[in-house]
Symmetry: C2
Subunit: 388 residues, 2 copies
């Protein structure tokens, strides 16, 4: 399903160009042939001139809000077959932009592989720790798989205490929580969380009671002699999209009502409110938050409350449907890494007499995306060097 | 401005009670006398019965979405002057709830002191490290001040390398970033960020290019012999509210348009999109993100783009207005801790020949809130013990 051809697809440079109209306006033609009029201020903000952009860090050296919103273009000269433009502005500034300087502005994928929603028939995406930890090519392929599907099974991870941190640090910055830098998942007396029991856990996301819910979780299996205790994963994107199609009103309600999530122990008292399905400011899905053990629905007006409960029930039924769920046994040396804002995880109950011991940790949400872009740029530059 | 009386105000137990109507419905009367009808399922979800709520961690042992949304109340008996209710449900479940079990459901402040927006005439809220690190009472007062105003100046912090981590760990979990567990702020050659130059920095928030922007920043001054380099802080809540009153359309636009923030160096390539003023799913302000050095406005349709630039300019002008800004010199042993989702920070340019050396780190957004609730509960229980 994943091969190096698909990695390279992201690197193909599509056709972009500058164009100017008779009235002096500058247009940008994007890869799909759409024309976008570019205002003087918008272009001026992107100036790469030495007095405007730091040559060390490419950060801007000026505050563009101080420029007049009536800034105009005095001169524009397009060269290099539409790939380069020289601009003189009404404030006297002069700069040259290449179309590549603006590529990020028209990349709705933000330099990442496109997300692929998945259902219960997905073959488990796998990689070996040996490959990931030794070559950039294998690591980049693993990152791509993770970014597409939201999770990855890594095999042959040595069964050492704290090894989960080493794998975590390969993918991003470990994020310490109230459970420590890493935590042991096995049955304990007086558990401060139900993870540390032999109970079944339905599909859920972790730590919804945090303001800034940990973005990515790793679970490394050190021992599994238990009967039962199979792992389950569900794609929150696929389920949310299916719910939106099946019942748009239910979906809408789940994006609007903020649910209180709560965690308390002797040293910690977290409380945070999130809708079960979260949108960004432009109404695009960003994340799912679901944990039927730590959530408190607000006391809405009676009709709305009932509608919310019905919507939540529909979501929950889809989340536990075999049509959406993949189920597998984590064995010693297996590690799963998954996006805790997208993928719900669970486990079946297990016999607490057979030992089962996992170690887990969280890492920053944007670690894999950052590393993917770094590697893509590094190898895309190599490819360009070779072409020349 | 802050005294122990105001701490105790949060602890006063307001009047809450259960009431039942002739048709058998259960109502909850909140502290303001408002009546809320409570559905059977809503009450059932909050059952503290042994088979429903873990006695170890108070997490629910059942998935309430599996219960019928038509669940009904068979019996309700109110006792203890409206403070206790015994309930029997149509699924046979029985439980007793006290009104205190539901207190969190009616606390719009989530157990925290109310936020106070501030302007340029705010006397600098201060605390000494000695007091904070030695007594719970002083620490709780410091937490309250931080939660109200979004920042706090801590004095007498020993000038040791990495001391900023010790202070950070008192307030929450240190969050490592691409800049390390802590970072040095002083002029360097080939700076990968403009913080590490002698340039003036206008009011900004940090790391807007992260998906999950670090929530709280600490800056500890080890040396300041520079001429210039004064620190500035502005309250993003006060400024946003003022903008909303002055120009509601501008405010609205800033909450809707998602701006791309970008950071790149040899090992890192972060990209994230946020509106400059961010709302939650219910339209309530949550955060401000402003950094005129790393932001890229999308190429909107011409009229909307101009309106956005004008709105951004209004926001920026307010952010740099002396009416909103406080300005002070950080001296050796001073440390500021501030909410990076609310408070903008900046500095004037300084003479790079006079040494200026700060160390900084980030901690989790919800650390101080969690600690405040833990201490409040601890001392509220002590107070109740004494009353009995």
């Amino acid at each position: 399903m994943i091969n190096s051809d698909s990695i390279n697809q992201g690197l193909v440079h599509k056709r972009f160009e500058f164009k100017s109209a008779e009235d002096g306006s500058v247009y940008i033609i994007d890869a799909d042939g759409n024309q976008h009029i570019a205002s003087a201020l918008w272009l001026r903000e992107r100036s790469t001139a030495e007095d405007t952009q730091s040559r060390f860090n490419h950060q801007r050296l000026v505050d563009p809000w101080t420029l007049s919103t009536d800034l105009a273009l005095e001169k524009r000269v397009i060269a290099d077959d539409g790939r380069r433009i020289s601009l003189t502005f009404s404030d006297g500034h002069h700069c040259t932009l290449t179309i590549d300087d603006l590529r990020d502005d028209f990349d709705s994928d933000d330099g990442l592989p496109s997300v692929i929603g998945w259902t219960g028939d997905l073959p488990l995406p796998r990689a070996t720790w040996k490959a990931i930890s030794s070559t950039d090519a294998a690591f980049m392929e693993a990152l791509q798989t993770f970014l597409r599907f939201g999770f990855l099974l890594i095999t042959d991870v040595p069964c050492r205490n704290g090894m989960v941190l080493e794998v975590g640090n390969r993918f991003g910055c470990v994020r310490e929580t109230n459970f420590g830098r890493y935590f042991d998942v096995r049955t304990t007396d007086n558990p401060n969380d139900q993870a540390y029991t032999a109970l079944a856990l339905g599909a859920h996301t972790d730590c919804n009671y945090r303001d800034q819910i940990p973005g990515i979780q790793l679970l490394h299996c050190l021992v599994n002699h238990a009967t039962g205790g199979e792992s389950t994963l569900v794609d929150g994107i696929a389920v949310s999209q299916a719910l939106k199609v099946a019942d748009p009103m239910a979906y809408e309600l789940l994006t609007k009502v903020m649910v209180r999530f709560r965690f308390k122990d002797a040293d910690t008292s977290f409380l945070s409110r999130h809708p079960l399905i979260e949108h960004d400011a432009e109404g695009v899905f960003t994340s799912i938050h679901f944990s039927p053990r730590t959530d408190f629905v607000p006391l809405l007006e009676a009709g709305k409350l009932k509608a919310f409960y019905e919507a939540r029930r529909k979501l929950a039924q889809m989340l536990e449907s075999p049509a959406f769920e993949i189920k597998f046994r984590l064995n010693a040396e297996d590690l799963i890494i998954f996006d805790n804002h997208r993928i719900l995880h669970g486990r079946s109950a297990f016999d607490s007499h057979g030992e089962r011991h996992l170690q887990g940790c969280y890492i920053d949400k944007d670690g894999p995306a950052s590393l993917f872009r770094v590697l893509r740029d590094r190898y895309s530059n190599v490819a360009e060097e070779i072409e020349k």
